[in-house]
Symmetry: C2
Subunit: 415 residues, 2 copies
């Protein structure tokens, strides 16, 4: 099974165009709207926030994924979340979709929506409509158009996030194989503690695949990708992951779980994992990516819980910022993860690029070389590992350090 | 039922003495050990951390509470947590208790222990022993001795925490009533997200009460006091709440749930609530106390979950620090509390000392007077309220703002 990383993002697969514009929704002088459009209707899969309070576009998109099951375009804005906006928020969804449908010549129920930003305000429909008109006339399948779209959906993100992969599948006409491409973009910097999904992530593929099977793959893959990152423990009202598949690659449609499905799932996993790690490393105020690997655990779900608990701990996050090897905090965070284990048998490690330090074993914090620990904690990506010695299951979670800038950004985000 | 607040702490009840000393365990030139001693054996009740990783003194104390059920003294040190210390940690517990028992002329199994500080290091037994000897000769029942003990157990706390109350109970000899006193002290500034209990809290009373009944009262009262505060979401390995009752007041012993028990429970609630709020307001780096009241909820437990979720949210905490009325974050934090509710019917309020602002109603963030909101958010104690409109149950949780200083303190705590 060979998955190759390639450059590009949402426009890498055949038949997808993107555009963006500065609609003036909240930010001055920057692009703040993006549009994706497929040359033909796509199978669509998606997962959404588990927050009881769901933003209007989440309600809108969920209906399309669950009932319409097909889509052709996505319209996204940054600056205003369209959350806690009541009936007015749903009305702007309907109007936005209707306007985009008209501009693109497609059914309104094929238009997916996404919003990110401040909770509360209602979207300015006139600017949204003008933005849609501008973007509909500027759609392009170039890599630059995809990259520009990934920038347009940023809020407090410091870098845009996109990636794409290629793999081979048997051709629909039986003559050898065809190349299938899967690309994606995402944003997310604060309010990141996805549960069922992440902030905003849009994936496109030219793969031909059954909608229900793609939905299964998405629900499976998010468990070890977007659901394994945390910036601040806050699960947003707007978390959305959507995957659109238009079938343009010409592969024999994937209609059952077999080798083709496994290939697709692996490609999906690669793109989701790459985007998730980029989001964790670009958490608000973050200076470093933090990774926690839990292995030899009894069940996968318990391994996930332990890894997530560590990367979400404020004390561990502050410790990584301060490069202080106060490793008892990691043990403590595992202890309140809601998972049973014997502290006397597990072993904890600092996993450096060039060396591994054991700092906890036999129920005791171990003496270790402080200089070596400082060197590992000073790496751009800080990795911790825990051998649970309880089985053969593993999980990895990603987060970031807690910094002065996180407080600064979030002490005054609205203004 | 009349509970009067009085000055003092652990030495306010009859028959309790306290002492402290600078044992040089970690901090230089400050008191870092405390001792409490009762003139006679006490009934003892307690609750401890739910963290799977339990510090050695937690294991030691839990055995006394569950099996011995009586105690006469408490020895506490700050600077080193005696957690993740394995068999060596338990050995220091045995040695500490034995040494204190000899110095005080009581059984070793009547000596409770407490430690707070860095996880990992083993306690220096020679300094602990010398500290015990010094304190055993300096025990005093003055208010000053109690206050000094409450200072000795501080780590990153900026103020000591103590309080005491008085109430009347029928006399044991049938002649009218006697005055019963309940006092306490606590410490806790970081790693504060108690679950079953809080960091370290020691309460003393001269009430005569059945041990099992007192244990019931403690387990009941923590749910709405220590378990309703959070500084950073991290449940410590050392959380301990102990209550010692020596019966010196001469009341008719409380042996069943009746009016006397209700009085005692109310006094216990008052002391625990006061200490818990002091801890929340003195969270690491905190500049302001934050309070979240959830009312008209279907069940008490759901009300607690909602209130806790809001005060534990990093985004809400940063918002309070920044005095920014980004109130959608409160709604968002309620949404991921794991409790079902209808966002369209609840109402959210900013509860100022002099005015109340509704900022969310009918599913929408409301327009509000920004100057008035800023004034409320600038108060020393910031209060939020939510009318769930689902029933008649309520709960309140307390936390603090997230500041630059939290990051500073925890980026470099060990050194």
């Amino acid at each position: 099974m060979k998955i190759s990383s390639i450059s590009g993002g949402v426009t890498a697969p055949a038949g997808f165009q993107a555009a963006c514009c500065a609609a003036g929704i909240k930010y001055k002088g920057r692009v703040d709207m993006a549009m994706l459009c497929s040359a033909e209707p796509c199978a669509v899969a998606g997962v959404f926030t588990s927050n009881v309070v769901k933003a209007a576009p989440v309600v809108w998109d969920r209906n399309i994924v669950q009932n319409v099951k097909r889509a052709q375009a996505v319209v996204v804005n940054a600056g205003i979340a369209n959350a806690a906006t009541g009936p007015a928020g749903m009305a702007t969804c309907e109007q936005t979709a209707a306007h985009a449908a008209k501009a693109l010549g497609i059914p309104a129920q094929y238009v997916l929506l996404g919003s990110t930003g401040v909770i509360g305000p209602v979207l300015p429909m006139d600017r949204i409509a003008a933005g849609i008109d501008a973007m509909a006339g500027a759609l392009s399948d170039t890599a630059e158009a995809g990259t520009a779209a990934s920038r347009a959906i940023m809020t407090t993100d410091t870098v845009n996030k996109e990636c794409a992969v290629r793999f081979e599948l048997p051709a629909a006409n039986g003559a050898g194989t065809v190349t299938v491409t899967l690309g994606g973009m995402s944003k997310g910097s604060g309010m990141i503690h996805p549960n069922m999904c992440t902030m905003l992530a849009y994936l496109t593929t030219d793969c031909a695949i059954d909608q229900a099977l793609m939905q299964r793959a998405v629900e499976d893959v998010v468990k070890d990708t977007f659901n394994m990152i945390s910036v601040d423990g806050d699960t947003s009202t707007n978390d959305t992951l959507l995957v659109l598949a238009n079938g343009r690659a010409g592969n024999a449609p994937i209609c059952e779980e077999g080798e083709g499905y496994a290939q697709f799932r692996e490609a999906l996993f690669t793109v989701c994992r790459t985007l998730a790690i980029k989001m964790a490393g670009d958490g608000e105020g973050a200076t470093r990516l933090m990774e926690m690997r839990v292995y030899n655990m009894d069940t996968k779900e318990n391994a996930r819980k332990l890894a997530r608990s560590v990367i979400a701990s404020s004390l561990v996050k502050a410790m990584v910022f301060g490069r202080d090897a106060n490793c008892g905090r990691i043990l403590c965070a595992m202890g309140y993860a809601g998972v049973d284990f014997d502290p006397a048998v597990i072993e904890l490690y600092l996993l450096g690029r060039e060396q591994t330090l054991c700092f906890y074993r036999d129920g005791c914090v171990q003496a270790f070389d402080e200089d070596a620990a400082l060197a590992i904690l000073s790496e751009k990506e800080v990795r911790f590992g825990c051998d649970m010695r309880m089985g053969d299951q593993e999980a990895t979670a990603w987060g970031c350090d807690l910094t002065y800038d996180y407080v600064k950004i979030n002490g005054d985000y609205r203004s």
